[in-house]
Amino acid sequence: MGDVYIVGVGMHPFGRFDKTYEQIGSEAAALALKDADVEWRDVQAAFMARMYLPATSGCRILRKLGGTDISVIDVEAACASGGAALRQAVLAIKSGDVDLALVCGTEKMPRGFMDPAMIYSPWQVELGISQNPSYWSMRAMRHMHDYGTTEEQIAKVAYKNHKNSVHNQYAMYQKEFSMEQILASPLVCDPIRLLEICSPNDGAAALVVVSERKMRELGKKGIRIAGISHSIARYSSDFRCPADSMSATVDNVGPTRVTAERVYEAAGIGVEDIDCFEVQDTDAFCEIELYEELGLCPTGEGGRLIDSGEVEIGGRTPVNMSGGLISKGEPIGASHLGQVVELVEQLRGNCGQRQVEGAKVALGHVLGAGGNCAITVLQR
């Protein structure tokens, strides 16, 4: 089984647009094909990541590029949909079934809290156990209790990510906020505040992935997918929605740690070999917990890591150079592939003021409902 490479990336900005999802998705797909210098008719299989769109979204979006008879399937794995779709494309290429595949993530979502009927049982919705930030907030509250993590440390994550987004033309906000503004923004679910959470929105991202043989034929220098994995949370390892209870006796390893270990092993690398990270900052606390789960610091020391400055651009291990989901928003199907587009551009050295100098290895991570987690490691 040979390696799989990314030879083209395309992105529709994340935000709110007066456009159909078919337009948003097909624009990103067309940009990825153009970046790879290939035509739609060269694509042998296509995978569409989406969560909030109707059935056959992939067909409807990609037919705008022209008629086709290839396999086009929709892939859904909550916030990890993009990772699950990319994994399917990698497997299709590694199996020898195809040499060139298109992976696209597209979403168009209403404003405000996500429709709880999508991810919770009816009784949970009736009782109000169904407002997405509440689960993340309960984790934050316990982390503060156990390790002394502070509201200021949580706010610093939001400060860093909003600041990074100023240089990202694909982000929804592209606006810096002061620590005072963040800490004065309204509480949504204590201790998490409005400027510390991401918004559901619209957007798309697309990749052209190929076999090594195809890459040589195209005469391209691609970015290698060194490892990719997707998993759901083990029993009682993660109280993300829609969990109704947790064990008090079983303490399983969480989905990020499980997925990261699989990817590090497949890629033959350790966390110390990775130059930059894009991670699931659905809320600012989540990023602190992920520093620990990905192995950037010991358990309980995530708050101290944000204080150290090492996760800023220019630090030892920059995280969310793009501004993260806090500033870009989270068009769910597109979010992981948006991370991968950012990381490919980082490895190509195309990121201007948010460039991580000399980046050679990069990691993208998403985590959501059901403890769905996907991690992709890229290498130049």
């Binding site: 405000g112 009784w123 919705v125 169904s130 679910c189």
Partner: protein, 141 residues
């Protein structure tokens, strides 16, 4: 008296017309000993199918919580006049932590505090049945 039903099948045990005798219901696995919430096909820990029905304890401690500051979306059946409320994981008998709305004042919430189980009639449904739900409140009067 109207007929009563639990908000979710298998979640509550005891006669619903005597709320003092109603408890949360669990399933204890004969293979691994793990207790899970409600009625299940298989043990969520080990997959074992030899499950015994158990009543969970009515007293617990608050493992963690948040305060829901805005009206939850969708078919939320709480008071029409929304008031921020606590939502927490309540640990029962050292075996399970249950996600539940909390009835006590939000300013009184503290990790580790003792709480007690409160079943109550949430609403009357379209079949004129009373739907029984649950919450937790502080132990003191």
């Amino acid at each position: 008296m109207k007929r009563r039903i639990p908000i979710k099948d298998g979640l509550l045990t005891g006669p619903l017309d005597q709320l003092d005798s109603v408890h949360l219901s669990g399933s204890r696995c004969g293979s691994c000993g793990e207790t899970s919430l409600g009625s299940n096909l298989a043990c969520p820990n080990c997959g074992g199918e030899n499950l015994a029905h158990v009543a969970l304890g009515d007293e617990g401690t608050l493992y963690t919580y948040t305060i829901v500051r805005h009206r939850p979306p969708g078919n939320y059946q709480g008071p029409a006049d929304f008031k921020p409320f606590g939502l927490g994981l309540v640990e029962l008998d050292g075996i399970i932590r249950v996600m539940a709305p909390l009835r006590l004042e939000i300013d009184d919430l503290r990790i580790g505090m003792p709480l007690k189980f409160i079943p109550y009639v949430l609403r009357t449904n379209e079949n004129d049945e009373e739907v029984v739900a649950f919450t937790y409140d502080s132990v003191g009067e």
